[in-house]
Symmetry: C2
Subunit: 200 residues, 2 copies
């Protein structure tokens, strides 16, 4: 999945589904926490220019993609979890729909033109303020290759999935939830497994 | 629905589901568009301190709330659409789940303790980079009153709904989608009506 650096104003980098790395508290820029006029929540404000750094939850969009009875997985070329396998997914961009975002990520990570047929699950990871919208999709043709964020892309039957080398808990959840509704045309989307918060 | 000002770094205010107001391009703060090192998309950067203002889609969470065969609606006290009726909904905050956010908004706007049973719809308004997750909920007791963002709160039968005074297109969509699956226990969540983009 995507590792575009996020989003705390250049002072802290929170990777997708995972680690947080301090990139250096600057001596300039938004660095003072206060409640702006007319607001009720503390925000990070720049004391020089009064720029307000609003922070909001981030949306991840992705898909469990199948070709026949096989699953499309991508081996990550980048941290976090470089060398581990994931479904194509990443941060939703401005001015796109979740569906368009999930299709874009499949192109970026696997050069795969996918067809989406249902919303499989919405996972939420409050610790990192992330909501993941994961779709059920298929690959009309077995055409794919590694994109810039992948070193390898492959199709795996259920028994061939490298379960010990899966990048993120949500990938486990999504693959298992897919199996539960395989062949069903209408279903309510799944949420986090009971008690699971996505902590790595 | 919420009108917390959003989120373009203090330079532009995009109201929920609606209007954009320029609040003044400053001579300081993030104001230069450039592609940061290691990135592929132009961001608004502060030329003094190199602060990067990442912008991402915003999530709105809310609910169609019923008590018996009646719908809970709130009359907005604030712009945009002051004096018009809405379902309780607003921006999701950091470190909450979509469910918790929808419950919080019902408290804030209608002092209503709701019970959520299903995801009704996901609407997307790419023009303003907004995704709305609207749930189906009920009010166990008919206890409610106007919160700070409402001048009035009421229960309306379907025929009593003030259709000419509904605040936003997505409120129309949500109420109609609710009716389509009334009494159904499992269904796939709706998306935008065919061709509808949420433009006011």
């Amino acid at each position: 999945m995507s590792t575009r650096k996020e989003h705390k104003g250049g002072y802290q980098t929170t990777y997708f589904d995972g680690d947080t790395v301090e990139t250096g508290k600057g001596e300039r820029g938004p660095r003072v926490r206060r409640v702006p006029s007319g607001d009720s929540v503390e925000r990070l404000v720049c004391p020089e220019c009064n720029f307000i750094n609003y922070e909001n939850p981030l949306m991840v969009v992705g898909a469990v993609v199948t070709f026949g009875d096989k699953f499309l997985l991508c081996k990550r070329s980048i941290e976090p979890r470089a060398g581990f396998w994931t479904i194509p997914a990443g941060y939703m961009e401005l001015h796109e729909t979740p569906l368009d975002g999930a299709k874009r990520e499949a192109v970026e990570e696997a050069n795969a033109a996918i067809e989406i047929d249902a919303l499989l699950a919405i996972y939420t990871i409050p610790r990192i303020s992330q909501v993941q919208m994961i779709y059920r999709a298929s690959l009309p043709e077995p055409h794919f290759s590694p994109g810039p964020e992948s070193t390898d892309v492959g199709l795996f039957s259920w028994d061939e999935i490298p379960w010990q080398e899966i990048a993120f808990p949500t990938v486990h959840w999504a693959l298992n939830h897919f199996q539960e509704v395989r062949g069903q045309s209408a279903f309510a989307p799944f949420t986090n497994p009971e008690g699971a918060t996505g902590t790595l």
